[in-house]
Structures are given as structure tokens and as C-alpha cells.
Assembly symmetry: C2
Homo-oligomer: 420 residues x 2
């Protein structure tokens, strides 16, 4: 009985979202922007309410012995909440992705044909920790005319619930029905799994989190999925790499924010470059406390390097560990990336433009870099505005996904009796 | 042992396709067009070889007692094969969808950012009967730089195999490796199911056929799917519909080609319009041998109409049967479409532009028509060129899918040492 009740609750929420989404899709840009600004104001006014809920999550996290990095992502502060509010104001300032006429023409028979951008409908967001996703995803969904169903990680449930309470209180004063933002107030895995197959009520699922969460959704969902973010990214230092550029980018891409998806996990070094610049490379690893796991060649050349296992090549460290491979040529580097990369961001450092061009053509990934850091794979850094995630899939959207990724199209034909 | 051998065969084919796709993605537009024209010539030269194989399928079909409509779709002729060849020449004449620079800009830090269209990689095509799909899908895949794995219906296996043999003989003389076109020479359901989960080798699955085939793929595939074509399309005749236009479009959309997805299956009629034009409507049904299945009101008003069941509202007849519902207002019509439509093509007939606008905004479908026939939902008829199918999903591509739907993008960044 208990299970049955819960199932119907999630389904009822999805149906409410679908209905609210239909109303939301008809609102003007002004109505939507007004609502987003109202959300921002309420977050600022009620920051203390959110912090009290966050304290409950932090206490639970401490008692469970979560890592410092994890606790850091979980922790909110007045400053962070005000940043969330600023994020919403930035989304309000973005161009409305809905109602764009993408094509308009008239056929010889007089039939007028238009292709118009419209909201997807209902977005199911399944994510771990990070309460900022609750605000960011809601803002982007509402701006693009979509209802959203939020299923966050259990470790942040009090914070997420409080944020959604504030969102609901804010929406009452706007034209967006509060049912457009649904929160699955449950720590049951079964409740998120229910979302996987609700094809009638949910138009897309967006999982954000670690590889196992994303794999679970991709393998089990019949609702279409937008995959985001697992980044096993590589830096290939070519034979003809400028050593100053190579080491600067290595340090930035590995150490600036090791826990994010556009950080590198593996450096692939050409044998000839290594022979010339080994001392500098060793000093760089040492100066930045980078732990190296490499092939036999690496272990023999780099002090303190340990022998890499299959997992070292395949997994995201998200920390100051790095895998390192020595290659004889660019093809060996590309083959390694093909075998282990997640098609997120891959970089080559070289002064040889032909080699760079070859790398760009051959490597299959969302973002490719020549003499620049993989850390730029980010909607903000590339100047595209706020993003809902970085797609590592090929269909619909690839790379940083902004508001446009949350829309689809309608073809609208108008005539005076045309038949075929 | 048998099963193991077959499994490894399909996987080996998928791996060959992946490898060939990489080579194909680097070819020039001229190389690809030359190959398509060579395919066309070989089909024309070897039409008799294909017809002999087709005769085997026809014999088997006759002995199994397939319907006339089915046999008609299965049957080839010299004329039809020459039409396939013409189709390939038309695809050769289309603009190359690969290598388009969709965005190019320079950031303040000097980093250059480009967004470039690239092939998806490997397309898995799972389809029923209709041997023309073998040629059409191959042409579109190759033109867009993709390898293709073909798994056709068992009833056309000899025809499909012969067509692929001709394609392979043609490709030997071109720069496209013949491994770029893989044919699963099997009538085992398990062999198509193997394709469902080969995420490492196949980039997209495109099912073409009836609802049960499409549902099977959507429900079981972890490879991303482009859904095509189930069309439970509606024609809504509004209170203010011009009767001449309404009846002309009713006849065209129902009877021109009843077996295609953009034909209508249900007519929804406003009570007031029915009261005024009942005689004409009855005459139209009768003159075109259309059998009516309707609600109680319809049964009492239309001679020979039978009472509609739930299946009548939900299924595609693909024949001269039609479901009919009488409504009191436009909202009732829209709600019916929402409940039973497959989001393919929906039409309203009215002289009231506000009602038409309301219908266009409220109804969620790939293609919406005001005073025109749903039969126009077709890449050719709308002037978009050859299509790989009509997408009824919202992600990636919606409505008629041409070459662009078979591409994705790469972001390519070039710098001189930029870090974040």
C-alpha cells in the first residue's frame, strides 16, 4: 500500500507539471522574466530559511563522514544564495528561446510554412548534491517555458526542499503556476526510477551527477535523455609543443578546479618532447602536488609515479591525481583518447598547425582545443550564457547546453484549402 | 554456439561500420557525390539481379497470404528501381550538411571558437518491408558522412540483400569503403535487438515501421533513438469551417494514400457544423467508400456508422476506415487530440483566424495545419528535399528529417596558450 501511494504521488506530480507546462508555454517573455526576478527577490529575502534547512543536511553529512569536497559543494551561505539570485536575474536578461521563427516560406501552391521554436514541455531533472542545481535548472526551465520536476540527491534534501518552498511562495505572485515546479520530496531511489518511463508526462530527463547516476538513467529510461557531463578529458602534448604553453595549460586544466568535468584526467606526452622537457615536467608535477599514475615508461622516468591500472585510464579522478601515457606519435594519442575518452573535451598542444588540424578532424568529442585549456568548456566561459549542463551526447545538443536545448519546434502551415 | 557466433557477427559488423565511418567522415563532398552517382548507375545496370531476388520475397509473401497492400509495398519493378536511382541522384544534388561553420567568434582573450557540423558516425536503421528504405537510407547516410547498419524486415530480405550487394559492388569503385554499408543478413529478432545496446559502436537508431516495432526499439534501446512516423492524425472541422474546403481536405487527407503516416484517422466535427452540413458529409463518406466509426451521436446521425471503441480512437487504420467524434467546442477537440494523437500532424478547418491561432498554440504536434491537408507533412512536399523519416519526437529533430538530422556538432577552439 505504501509503495502504491508513493507511486501515485510521483505520477500525480508529473501530471500536474504537464498541465502547468501547457499554461506556462503561453506566457509572454515579460511574464516569465517578472517571475524569475520575483524568485530572485524571494531567495534573497528568505536566505535564512534556506540556511536553516541547509544546516540539517550539513549535520547529517558530518555524521555520515562525507568528504570535505562533498561538504563544500553541499554548504550554502548568504553569499552563495545571493549568487543564485543573481544567476536568475542573468537568465531573465537572456533572449527568450521560445517563439522564434526559424524558417518562413511560401510554397508554389500558396501554402505558408513556418518553423517556430516551442518549449519541450516537462523536464525531469535528476541530480546529486549541489543545491545550486535546484535554482539554476528551475530558472532555465521556466525561462524556456517548461515545467520542471526536480529529484535531487538525498544528502541535500532539506536544502532543496527549502529552496523549492521559497520558489513556490514567490510564484504565487506571478503568472507562472506553482505546479510548474515539482519537487520529489523523497530519498527513495524508486521515486526517481518512476520518472524514467513516464513518457506521457515527461518530455526529457536530464541527469546531472556522477557516471553511475548517468548510466543508470541512460540504461533504464524510455523517456528521452540529455546526457551531461562525465568528462574523462585528455591533454596531448605533441612532439612540437611549446613547453611553456604545455605546462601552463597542464597546470590550469588539472589544478584550477580538479572536481569539475572539464578538468583533465590524463596527460599524453610525445616521447621526443618528454626527452627534452622531462625536468620541467617533473618540477611542475611536484610544485602543484600532482600525483602521477603512468605506463611503464612513465614509472621509469617520473619519480614517485605509480603504475596505472585500467581504471586509471578510464575513470575521472576529480582530484590532483593524473594518468600519464607516453606515445610515439599522434595516432597513438588519438587511439588512446578514442578508447578511454568520454567525448567531452580534448586538447592538443603543438606549434604544428597540420597536427592540430589532424587532431581536430580525427578526435570525436564535443569540444576540441588547440593550445588552450579544456577548462573553457562552459557556457559562461565561451560566452553562450547560462547552461543547464554540458552534453556529451551527439543528438539534440552537444557541448554547453543553454536555453535553446530546452526547446523543440513546431511546423505551422496555413492555407486556403490546399490538398496534395 | 550458434547464438554466440551470430552475436559476434553483428558486433563485428558494427565495429567495421564504426571504423569505415571514421574514414567516410573525412571525404570531400565530391567524393561522396561521385559514390552516390555510382550507386545509382549500378542499380540501373543491375536491376534484373534485384528483380530476381525480389521475386523470391514475393513468392514467399504469396505463400504466407500477405495482404495486397503489403505485397504492393514489397513488389519492385524496373521503373521503381530506376526511381530509387533517381532518388540517389537527387541526394547527390543536395547541399552537403557536413563541415558547415554554424558559429565563429573570437573571445576577448583571443581564443577562437567555432561550431562545425560533423557526421553522427554510425546509423542503425531498423525497418519493415519496403525495400526502398534500403536505398534511401543508404543514400542519406553516406551523403551526410555516416556509416549505416541496415536491418530490414524478414519479408524483404532477398530484395534488401540484393540491393546491398549491388551497393557494395558500386562502392568498390569509389572512395567510400564498402564496410560503411552493413547489412544484417538475418531474420532473427535477436539480431536487431543486439543493435539496441551497442552504445560504443552505434550513434543513433532509427526505427521505421509500425507502432509495435517503434515501441520495441524505444522501450529497449540504450542507444539514442530517432522515432519516426506513427501518425494518428486528426482533422478538426470547426463551427466556422467552409464546407467546400472541409470536405475537400477530408477526402484528400483520408483517401489519397490511406496507408501513409500523414493520412488522417479521425475527423472531429463541431456539432453546429454537422447540423448544417450533415447531408454533404454523408454523401462524401459514401462517394469515397469511407467507413465511419463514431461516438453515440455519430451513430445516430450517420447511416451505417458503427460505435467506436477505445482502439478506434487510438490506432492507425491505414485504410478507408475513419473514426468520428462530435464536439461542442474547440477545447473538446483539442483535449481529444491530446489524449489520442501521436503528435504527428493535426489540422483545423475554420474561417475564424483566432480559432486557428488558438489551435496552433494549444496543440502539441510536429506539424499543424489551418485549412490545408495533413498530407503535406513530407520533406519533399514541404520543399526540404529527401527525408530519412518524419520525427514524432521532440529532441534533435521534429517533423520531416533531412540530412541535417544525421549530423551533430563539434566545438573547435584554437588559441595560443589561453587558460582560465
Amino acid at each position: 500500500m505504501h509503495l502504491l501511494n508513493e507511486q501515485s504521488t510521483v505520477e500525480a506530480q508529473a501530471m500536474q507539471a504537464k498541465k502547468a507546462g501547457k499554461r506556462l508555454s503561453l506566457l509572454t517573455t515579460e511574464d516569465k522574466n517578472h517571475a524569475l526576478i520575483s524568485l530572485a527577490e524571494h531567495l534573497e529575502t528568505e536566505f535564512d530559511f534556506i540556511l536553516k534547512a541547509n544546516e540539517k543536511d550539513l549535520e547529517a553529512g558530518r555524521s555520515k563522514g562525507f568528504t570535505e569536497a562533498f561538504m563544500d559543494r553541499l554548504a550554502l551561505s548568504k553569499t552563495r544564495i545571493f549568487e543564485f539570485a543573481d544567476g536568475l536575474r542573468q537568465v531573465a536578461a537572456l533572449e527568450d528561446p521560445v517563439g522564434k521563427i526559424l524558417l518562413k516560406k511560401s510554397l508554389d501552391n500558396g501554402l505558408s510554412v513556418s518553423k517556430i521554436s516551442v518549449p519541450l514541455g516537462v523536464i525531469g531533472m535528476i541530480y546529486e548534491a549541489r543545491p545550486n542545481v535546484t535554482v539554476d535548472a528551475t530558472g532555465l526551465a521556466l525561462k524556456s517555458g517548461n515545467a520542471i520536476i526536480l529529484k535531487g540527491g538525498s544528502s541535500a534534501i532539506h536544502s532543496n526542499k527549502a529552496i523549492v518552498d521559497v520558489i513556490h511562495r514567490a510564484l504565487i505572485h506571478t503568472k507562472i503556476p506553482k505546479e510548474a515546479v515539482q519537487f520529489i520530496n523523497s530519498t527513495n531511489r524508486e521515486d526517481s526510477q518512476q520518472l524514467f518511463t513516464m513518457r506521457e508526462h515527461i518530455d526529457v530527463l536530464i541527469p546531472r551527477g556522477g557516471g553511475s547516476l548517468i548510466n543508470e538513467v541512460v540504461s533504464n529510461a524510455s523517456v528521452p535523455v540529455l546526457e551531461t557531463g562525465v568528462g574523462n578529458c585528455h591533454l596531448y602534448i605533441d612532439q612540437e609543443a611549446n613547453p611553456e604553453i604545455a605546462l601552463r595549460i597542464l597546470v590550469n586544466a588539472k589544478t584550477d578546479r580538479p572536481a569539475v568535468c572539464n578538468a583533465i584526467e590524463t596527460v599524453i606526452v610525445h616521447q621526443d618532447w618528454l626527452n627534452k622537457h622531462k625536468i620541467d615536467l617533473i618540477q611542475t608535477f611536484s610544485a602543484h602536488s600532482i600525483s602521477v599514475h603512468g605506463d611503464k615508461k612513465v614509472v621509469s622516468e617520473i619519480p614517485n609515479a605509480s603504475l596505472a591500472t585500467e581504471e586509471d585510464w578510464a575513470d575521472e579522478y576529480l582530484s590532483l591525481h593524473i594518468a600519464m601515457k607516453v606515445v610515439q606519435d599522434i595516432d597513438e594519442a588519438i587511439e588512446h583518447i578514442e578508447s578511454y575518452g568520454t567525448r567531452h573535451s580534448e586538447a592538443i598542444i603543438t606549434e604544428n598547425n597540420d597536427s592540430a588540424e589532424y587532431f581536430m578532424q580525427r578526435v570525436d568529442a564535443a569540444a576540441l582545443y588547440h593550445n588552450a585549456s579544456t577548462r573553457f568548456t562552459d557556457g559562461g566561459a565561451l560566452g553562450f550564457g547560462a547552461e543547464i549542463g554540458i552534453s556529451t551526447q551527439k543528438l539534440h545538443a552537444r557541448g554547453p547546453m543553454g536555453l535553446e536545448a530546452l526547446t523543440t519546434v513546431k511546423y505551422v502551415m496555413s492555407g486556403n484549402g490546399q490538398i496534395r
